[in-house]
Amino acid sequence: MQFLQNNLLTLLIFLPTGGAVLTLLAKNRDAARWTALATTLVTLALSLVLLITFKTNFGAVQMVQEGDWIPAFNIKYKVGIDGLSLPLVLLSTFICALAAIASWNIEKMTRGYFALFLFLETGILGTFLAIDFFLFYVFFEVTLLPMYFLIGIWGGPRKEYAAIKFFLYTLVGSIALLIVLIGTHLYTKDAATGLGSFDLVKLPLLIKAAIANGSMSMDVVRWFFVLAMICFLIKVPAVPFHTWLPDAHVEAPTAMSMILAALLLKMGGYGIFRVAYPLFSDAGRELWMIVAFVGVLSILYGALCAMAQTDFKRLVAYSSVSHMGFVVLGAAMMTKTAANGALFMMIAHGITSAMLFFIVGVAYDRAHHREISRFGGLATTMPVYFGLSAIGIFANLGLPGLCGFIGEIMVLLGSFEAAKPGSILIQSGAASTRQIYPFAVSACLGVVLTAAYMLWTIQRVYFGPERAEYRGFKEVDSREQVVLWPLAVMALLLGILPTLFVFSYTDSTVETLFKLFR
């Protein structure tokens, strides 16, 4: 037990890699996919152990495991977990297990597919658990390659274009982050040892000290913040860095869309809360208006673009842009409520987006197209499918009692709270009440637009007279139900018991985080 506790995080990260090796060695297709599924399920089970060992009110990073990696540059293998990462880790293992089931019918090069898939899971978990900045960067990049191939080989007709675009965008972000990585290391050189730091727990204080003693000018801090934000905003993705997402989604196989939306986008949101804001909080405070503008723009622009879509999957992709805008806004406002809301929004969006992409996949598997205007009457043809879709769609549009609502209302509450005297933005003089309100109020408009395009989708896809060509469609089968039901149940549980599932973990960590902001 003690061994497990000490090595749990490392085990979690590399278990999928082990599974990937086994999958490659598998004799046939069946063995490969069963190995992969077993690996994701064991990882999921292992991650649930975290719930027992995690100390809820601790606030700081816990269960740390560290060792030297490249001593010459003070690079360590250091992993740990706190309230920011725990919900995301659980979401990752949960979604990956479901995505493995969703990938069940992959025909082409099954072994390769599942091996890359598991390799991807390692990258995702590593990103969420790394405490060393260099390690974080490595894992952050590691996810790039498997996803590139998964889209490029197993994707739709325009897969090469989509894969290249995905790669290109993310590459730009990576370079930006690399500069920040190297730069912070150089600016935090310890006088005695001559070594900089990559430790994400110590870096915020070291940077504060460097600013205080004048070795790091505010200009540099501002630049580093902007570069880090560009990297994470591309990943989130926020307008105007978002056009890779619709293409990647449209071409990606269903399971990869689920992982892309539910987990890869969250790496961007996580980076904002783990790297950009804690390290460069002064710049974050100063530049709040730009970040908030990007957030609100994403919310409204994404929603309006979603309204203009004719492809079901592209519509869901734009809806992701809109919803992730709430995460960006939540970060920009620098209030505890908004931060908690943004973290919740990431989990809620992880559930609903995975669900919606799978729902699109179900329709695509049967109809072999995704044109919204060619659908209709699916509620009559497949009533159970409609019922599950309705849960996903209403959770996505923020119906109270389902998960989307909690995230939205907390971010909006937090945004209005930022206008109060005593909030970080007001107290530091970075913003005035009058400046904050327009952002908060326009973000509220997003809620109306979301309802508009989501309901219009229900109306066109599910309602209306049954179409003759779809009459033979079979109802969602048991495999598809195994994917959809857990998501539906989680959407409901997160909406009813948000404190139990998320806030009890995030609250104390957000508290710790905000001590850095003052």
């Binding site: 590139y148 675009k165 309006l304 879509q309 909006l412 809620v447 609250d507």
Partner: protein, 711 residues
């Protein structure tokens, strides 16, 4: 069982219908089938029993000499993060008790009726599951102890309304109506949501009241405090509080206008008649649409200090009352007439709360719930018997075909038109009475509207039930859900409706008044006849409601702000007023006689034009061709919205998407073109080139950066 016991077990009231809904929803399709109404009947039945028990217990409690009656019941912690806390729990006071009794009581009657009405429909189980879910949401709305619970119920009833309007989702008109209802409500909720956010900011809490009455930790109580004290508690600059308090009621009222279909957000309600008739009766007449009235009555303290907000509510209500009544004059569809009439009557209630007359407003809410549910269900019986036909131009003299329904409908019409001693007479008169005291102009408009109401109600009654017997031929491809006369739409709506029409139409025209449908109507008719005596001549309802802390404190706030509030209209007893009642009684009696005469005049005019001399009635609109045209097209409001809001928004979406495709992707292409050129040489040496090219570019880039940084 005493009051406290009922409060402790209050969680059962929403829970049981929810359990019923879950059972019907999950087991209805396969196992329960045509028995799917049982879980709902039992769930809502027990809830209704509990609600009425709670009402009686609360009445007893007030009689036991408790002045302020209100108690919270904590169910569980819902959201708790940072400084924000919202519990799931109930607040029980007289206002809640009355609302719960109306929701569950009328809800039960309509659930019973629906079992007969919906018999044999496809998706029978689905209908009842939605009804159960609706009762759950509506009870959460009226009994929730904080604004987040209110919002939960508020959106929940919106969802159920959406699902039930779209019940015949294969019909394009039904699905359009469903979407419109949800969206228009969302526009209202936009304001409502901001209102709630501002409330949290200003008061630091979202609970209505503290743990017990008088602890002054809830929003409603805090709103009674002097501003500087409030600023200290909320931790905001004192100059900010007045601004927030100025805005909050306006934001909240936007939500109320959406949910309760007031101008300019009323447009969804007439279309909502696409839903099955029991839904129109329950959701779009008796309960959900009154949520706005309940909310304003509940948050009276937030409105009472703000004269501009109060006047806006009153004026919008009055205008809506008149506006909708004029449209109702030229509608030919039974349900549409009643839909506009509902909007108009809700306008009366808003005028009531806007003039700080919470008691008359809630009184009218109660009586209206009875008689409007009765009217809708009775027109449902007509529709059932006429195979889905609802156009009053195509039918006449149905009194011999539907004798029982005719009597029930007559009772409902008399109540709606304010015929003396029917329930609507008393409640409408009280609203006009308050208006007469405080705002003479509003009173005059309302009196005129009452005249129109009596006229259009009896225009309908005389056309449909009196005169020579005309029974319409079965309309092609019709079903219950068909509303309006658009034949093309009916034909286009596919095969499913033909099937449902067959279910009902297989046995041709017949006397269709089954007991399961008539019995609930009789109970409602008794209510429509007698509910007026709840508050007349002794003001039982008013005195009872007056024990609610919401109403008591509303009066304090109004008085402190120098806004004249009628004590009786807030259920309070004023010693000074008691002495002066002599004179007031005479003026009130005069008003009663006057409104009675107005109602009679309206009925008389309808009799003249629509029974005695129908030719004259038909000549009239021809003479005022333009006016009739304007009314028939409902002032073209839908068309204006479409041109001014819907289309531009849609265009904007397409415009943004074009920017995405052309501008942003164009830039991306440009950025990608440069490495591609440089990778071109690599491409010559390697076979495929793509990934390697970019990997090469990446390595090159990193080297450049490293060189730049370390140099």
């Amino acid at each position: 069982m005493g009051f406290e016991d009922f409060v402790d077990y209050s969680f059962l009231i929403p829970l049981l219908p929810l359990i019923g809904a879950v059972i019907s929803g999950f087991f209805g399709a396969k196992w329960l089938k045509e028995r799917s109404h049982w879980p709902i009947w039992i769930g809502v039945g027990v809830s209704a029993f509990l609600s009425i028990g709670l009402l009686l217990a609360t009445i007893d409690y007030t009689h036991a000499g408790h002045e302020v009656v209100g108690q919270g019941s904590h169910w569980f912690d819902w959201i708790s993060a940072g400084r924000f806390h919202a519990e799931a729990g109930a607040w029980i006071d007289p206002l809640t008790a009355v609302m719960l009794a109306v929701v569950c009581g009328i809800g039960l009657l309509i659930c019973i009726f629906a079992a007969g009405y919906m018999k044999g429909e496809e998706g029978y189980f689905r209908f009842f599951a939605y009804l159960g879910l609706f009762i759950f949401s509506m009870t959460c709305l009226v009994m929730g102890s904080n604004f987040i619970m209110l919002y939960l119920g508020w959106e929940g009833v919106g969802l159920c309304s959406y699902l039930l309007i779209g019940y015949y989702y294969e019909k394009p008109s039904a699905r359009d109506a469903a979407k419109k209802a949800f969206l228009v409500n969302r526009i209202g909720d936009f304001g409502f949501g901001i209102g709630i956010l501002l409330i949290f900011l200003t008061f630091g809490t979202v609970s209505y009241f503290g743990a017990g009455a008088g602890t002054h930790t809830g929003v409603i109580e805090l709103a009674t405090m002097p501003l500087d004290q409030l600023a200290k508690i909320a931790g905001v600059r004192s100059d900010w509080v007045p601004t927030a308090l100025q805005w909050i009621p306006f934001c909240l009222m936007l939500g109320a206008f959406g949910k309760s279909a007031q101008f300019p957000l009323y447009v969804w309600l007439p279309d909502a008649m696409e839903g099955p008739t029991p839904v129109s009766a329950l959701i779009h007449a008796a309960t959900m649409v009154t949520a706005g009235v309940y909310m304003i009555a509940r948050c009276g303290t937030l409105f009472a200090g703000n004269l501009a907000a109060l006047e806006t509510v009153a004026v919008v209500g009055t205008f809506t009352a008149l506006f909708a009544a004029t449209i109702a004059l030229r509608q030919f569809d039974l349900k549409k007439v009643f839909a506009y009439s509902t909007i108009s009557q809700l306008g009366f209630m808003f005028a009531g709360v806007g003039l700080l007359g919470s008691v008359p407003a809630v009184f009218h809410l109660v009586t209206h719930a009875f008689f409007k549910a009765l009217l809708f269900l009775a027109s449902g019986v007509v529709m059932h018997a006429m195979l889905g036909e609802l156009d009053m131009r195509k039918m006449s003299g149905l009194k011999r075909v539907l004798p029982n329904t005719r009597i029930l409908m007559l009772i409902g019409c008399l109540a709606l038109s304010g015929f003396p001693f029917f329930s609507g007479f008393f409640s409408k008169d009280e609203i006009i009475g308050v208006a007469w005291e405080h705002h003479r102009k509003i009173a005059i408009v309302l009196l005129f509207t009452a005249f129109l109401t009596a006229y259009y109600t009896f225009r309908l009654y005389f056309r449909v039930f009196e005169g020579p017997e005309v029974i319409p031929p079965a309309p092609a491809g019709s079903s219950h859900g068909v509303v309006g006369g658009d034949v093309d739409e009916h034909l286009a709506s596919g095969s499913h409706q033909a099937a449902t029409a067959d279910d009902h139409g297989g046995h041709g025209h017949h006397n269709h008044e089954p007991l399961v449908m008539i019995l609930p109507l009789i109970v409602l008719a008794i209510g429509a006849l007698g509910a007026g005596f709840f508050n007349f001549p002794a003001e039982h309802l008013g005195r009872f409601l007056g024990h609610s802390p919401s109403l008591i404190q509303t009066r304090h706030v109004a008085e402190r702000n120098g806004i004249v509030a009628d004590a009786a209209a807030l259920g309070q007893v004023d010693e000074a007023e008691l002495r002066a009642t002599e004179g007031e009684h005479t003026s009130h009696t005069t008003l009663m006689v006057m409104s009675g005469l107005i109602s009679l005049a309206g009925i008389g005019l309808a009799y003249q034009l629509h029974l005695k001399d129908r030719a004259a009635g038909e000549a009239l609109p021809r003479r005022f061709g333009v006016l009739a045209n304007v009314l028939e097209h409902k002032y073209w409001v839908d068309e204006i919205y479409d041109a001014v809001i819907v289309r531009p928004l849609f265009r904007l979406g397409q415009f943004f998407y074009a920017i995405d495709r052309i501008v942003i992707d164009g830039l991306v292409w440009l950025v990608g073109f440069v490495p591609q050129l440089s990778g071109f040489t690599l491409k010559l040496t390697t076979q495929r080139g793509y990934l390697q090219g970019y990997a090469g570019a990446m390595v090159f880039g990193i080297v450049v950066i490293l060189v730049v940084v370390f140099w």
